[in-house]
């Protein structure tokens, strides 16, 4: 019988290290992918995912299953990613003070600087086709909170209530956030969307 996440976490709390290993195997790939899509840097994404697992382990003794495990897990991940992106943004500002920065009036978040994508190697650059690059670029251009909402909604398939808890907002605010995000993606990906929507 497959144990639920909450059961595994309670077993970790009781001192069962093997249950922590099962949680690691269950969520390593979704977490790394979520964080990679948030921060757009593989090494940074893996460092953050490791930090998420470490925080889960550290919190095992105080763990109370008051919410779904995934809500808790992705809340830690989202907060770490947002903090990390803010730190990275300051580093980018130091690199190029002349680059244009605009403010998203509704979210109060700065839009990401339009920095060319960094590719770890030429091979990866060649493998990525134009279509995937356009999609990635469109996601990157979303304000942080909208990006997190889209990634959690689309790839982690969390329900609205869960995502709202992760992002500390109401369900109606989340729906509005997602609508604006999809609108931006629709505009940004217009050439591809027009072909697809025919």
């Amino acid at each position: 019988m497959v144990r639920t996440d909450v059961q595994l976490m309670l077993d970790v709390k009781a001192g069962d290290e093997a249950s922590f290993e099962l949680l690691l195997q269950r969520y390593r790939t979704p977490l790394v992918n979520f964080l990679f899509r948030m921060v757009r840097n593989r090494e940074q994404a893996e460092d953050l995912a490791q930090e998420v697992f470490l925080r889960v382990y550290r919190a095992r003794e105080d763990y109370v299953p008051s919410a779904k495990f995934t809500t808790w897990l992705f809340r830690i991940a989202t907060n770490l990613a947002l903090n990390s992106m803010r730190d990275t943004r300051y580093q980018k500002l130091e690199v190029s003070m002349d680059a244009p920065v605009s403010m998203d009036a509704e979210d109060g978040d700065e839009r990401p600087l339009d920095v060319p994508e960094k590719h770890p190697n030429i091979e990866q650059h060649l493998v990525e086709n134009v279509r995937v690059k356009m999609i990635r670029h469109a996601i990157d251009k979303l304000p942080e909170k909208q990006r997190a909402a889209v990634l959690l909604h689309k790839y982690e398939e969390l329900d609205y209530a869960e995502i709202a808890k992760i992002l500390s907002c109401s369900e109606s605010a989340l729906k509005s956030l997602l609508f604006r995000a999809y609108e931006s993606l629709r505009v940004e990906l217009a050439p591809l969307v027009a072909r697809q929507a025919r």
Partner: protein, 163 residues
């Protein structure tokens, strides 16, 4: 349903997460509104495009690094955890305690049994002996007897024994 209301439900409709009644309302509106119908198609297209992003696998060293981080964590023990002893030690300690109690029980000095075992009997015996005790008190506190020389008694006793 208005186009504004449709906006708040459009993603739920595209995802298939609406309640049955909400879905029917949305479909009724879409049948009559070309703009919302187009938007639904475009949102579906966006959703399809997002599916095209490939998944990445964590690097082979990922698990090892998590294990190393976890292993480096200091072991936290609750305030009473140090009192917990391993079962083997607890068993041996229990045996030792039992042996000590048994040894103490069997090696204690034997007390001579009382001539009576019943407390009622003991009380009756004491009441029966009371006159003797009273005579003993009278004799031991009798002033004229104190004047008798004790040595003389001893001598007479010795003389009797020699005879």
């Amino acid at each position: 349903m208005s186009c504004g209301k449709m906006e708040s439900r459009i993603l739920g409709y595209v995802d298939g997460r609406l309640k049955e009644s909400e879905r029917l309302d949305a479909e009724k509106h879409l049948a009559a509104c070309a703009a919302c119908r187009l938007r639904v198609n475009e949102f579906r297209a966006v959703s399809g495009l997002l599916d095209e992003l490939p998944l990445i696998e964590p690097s082979p060293a990922f698990d090892a690094r998590v294990h190393a981080l976890v292993a480096a964590e200091p072991v936290k023990q609750s305030w009473w955890a140090w009192m917990r002893i391993p079962p083997r030690v607890a068993f041996v300690a229990s045996l030792l305690l039992l042996a000590t109690v048994c040894l103490g029980y069997y090696s204690r000095p034997q007390v001579a049994p009382l001539p009576w075992s019943n407390p009622m009997e003991a009380d009756a015996q004491m009441i029966q002996d009371l006159p003797v005790l009273e005579d003993h008190d009278v004799l031991s506190n009798f002033e004229p007897l104190k004047d008798l020389p004790g040595k003389a008694d001893d001598d007479s006793d010795n003389t009797q024994q020699q005879m």
